[in-house]
């Protein structure tokens, strides 16, 4: 390979490199100028030296190198720029990601997209489906007691328990924090209950400290295709059931059915009640 012309173009560059680390590096390497050192380095392949030398190349040196080699040399600025570009790409890819980093379950983005799909599907086909909302009981206490790392491991185990309890057509998601959600397509409430029950049993095998296993509150909702309820309304129904499960003392499954609990005060009019309560006077 000829270096003729390179020396001409790089003339005077040697002076600029006097007493710089690269200059000393060149001395050590026994080279007169950066380019010849660099050309040798390509074979040696020590990346740090390679970059150190690349940084010291002038624009004309790099142009010359480009002519005789197929390699483009980046200055530090170029490397940093490329790095930040990669980071931006990563962030972009991450924003398109459908999985939760910690648990590997689907993330909220996927959940929202899929639930909307299911709702339109259900309305079109007239086939109901179910939604299960899961809230890990006392997770803050668990987190405070065993620490963040171990608590994260517990979260992973809970995600595993979800995966082993659901069927492969069901969609297990991390809803956020210590909340999970499972979309259960084409399934009536009573089969969803089975899945919820199975999950509760799986949780009893996750021991987070001596003799204490993980429990969860579970809210179930069945989407009624006739109802025409929106994404928000349906999630709200499941959320209310979850809240009710928590309110009733956690570690349980709760679901709503239309007209399930009959309100006694609606059943018994004040006139009837008034008549019934006369028993108090009669017994006195």
């Amino acid at each position: 390979m000829s270096t003729e012309g390179l020396e001409e173009e790089s003339g005077g560059q040697g002076e600029d490199l006097q007493d710089t680390p690269s200059r000393r590096l060149l001395d050590i390497l026994g080279k007169d100028n950066v380019i010849s050192a660099w050309l040798d380095m390509r074979q040696d392949g020590d990346p740090e030296v390679f970059i150190a030398l690349a940084e010291k190349l002038s624009v004309s040196e790099r142009a010359a190198l480009r002519r005789i080699t197929d390699t483009t040399i980046g200055l530090r600025d170029d490397l940093l720029k490329r790095l930040s570009e990669l980071e931006a790409e990563n962030a972009q890819l991450k924003s398109l990601s459908l999985r939760d980093d910690l648990t590997g379950l689907y993330n909220y983005r996927y959940f929202a997209r899929q639930l909307k799909n299911e709702i339109s599907m259900s309305s079109r086909t007239g086939r109901p489906f179910s939604l299960m909302m899961i809230d890990v009981d006392n997770f803050k206490t668990i987190n405070d007691t065993i620490g963040h790392n171990d608590a994260n491991n517990v979260m992973v185990k809970i995600a595993d328990a979800i995966m082993e309890s659901i069927r492969n057509t069901d969609i297990g998601c991390r809803y956020g924090g210590d909340e999970f959600a499972v979309i259960i397509p084409a399934t009536y409430m009573h089969d969803s209950l089975k899945i919820a029950q199975r999950f509760k049993e799986a949780l009893t095998r996750i021991i987070w400290r001596q003799d204490e296993y993980i429990t969860a509150s579970i809210g179930l909702a069945e989407h009624d295709p006739e109802s025409g309820s929106t994404f928000e309304e349906f999630v709200n129904t499941a959320d209310k059931a979850l809240y009710k499960a928590k309110e009733l003392g956690k570690d349980r499954i709760f679901y709503f059915e239309s007209d399930n609990w009959i309100n006694e005060s609606e059943m018994v009019s004040s006139e009837e009640k008034g008549a019934l309560y006369k028993i108090m006077d009669m017994l006195d």
Partner: protein, 255 residues
């Protein structure tokens, strides 16, 4: 002896509106009275929200209705002898989510239950407290419904609400009434007559009086000792009361 089954079995349900009026106590003692009268009796503990019959009877059954609902068991597989002469289909205590049962599940449980009914003379369903679709449907398995209440106005209102809902939703109008914890016979009859007059006035039908159980200090001891009273202390006044109720249930028109 091989039980060839019969089609003359009788099914009653026992409901109460809200809990705490001694529904389960009445159920077990009524069942024991039928046993004393020579009947083959099955009690179904349908109170899946707060099943306590196994506790009352001091038994610890391995399986329960939960295994019928969520497992592959049939009712036949889970029947246990109660120790008081009758057979029991246990509910599961502490599985609180069982308080809610999907309609379809109730139908499944019902058909499994009905398959064993012909092996008995008398079937008593102890249904859950409160008024939910589940409780109503379980009561519908039985053609006749017994309502247990006491003299407290809240208990009377709950009982009335159950009667009214069952009437409005299923057209039922034959209810048998048992008054628990009465101070005396006169008081029990007064409570019954009052409730009956209100049903006649607002719902346009009358109730059937099946009897009462007097407030008796022997009751709490019986529960503590996990004994069915009719069996444990044959001289107790309660025995006589429960036998009378059992007779009234047997005579109950159409049952």
């Amino acid at each position: 002896m091989i039980d060839t089954g019969n089609n003359n079995y009788k099914v009653v349900s026992i409901a109460s509106g809200k809990g705490g009026v001694g529904k389960t106590f009445i159920t077990t003692n009524l069942a024991a009275s039928f046993v004393n009268a020579g009947k083959k009796v099955l009690v179904v503990d349908c109170d899946m929200g707060l099943a306590n019959m196994d506790i009352l009877l001091g038994i610890n059954p391995e399986h329960s209705l939960v295994d019928v609902i969520f497992g592959d068991y049939s009712v036949k597989d889970i029947i246990v002898p109660s120790g008081a002469g009758f057979d029991l289909v246990p509910a599961s205590s502490g599985v609180k989510e069982m308080a809610q049962l999907y309609n379809e599940k109730i139908r499944q449980v019902q058909s499994s239950l009905e398959s064993v009914f012909p092996e008995y003379d008398m079937v008593i369903l102890d249904t859950g407290a409160g008024i939910s679709d589940e409780v109503l449907q379980l009561n519908m398995i039985a053609p006749r419904n017994i309502i247990v209440l006491n003299k407290e106005p809240t208990s009377m209102t709950d009982a009335y609400a159950v009667i009214k809902v069952m009437h409005q939703k299923s057209g039922r109008q034959r209810f048998g009434i048992v008054i628990n914890s009465a101070a005396n016979e006169k008081e029990a009859e007064m409570v019954f007559k009052h409730l009956d007059s209100i049903c006649a006035r607002f719902l346009d039908f009358h109730l059937t009086y099946l009897g009462h159980v007097l407030y008796d200090s022997a009751v709490p001891r019986s529960i503590l000792e996990q004994k069915v009273l009719v069996k444990s202390s044959s001289d107790s006044g309660i025995v006589g009361h429960c036998s009378k109720i059992a007779d009234a249930v047997s005579r109950w028109q159409g049952l």
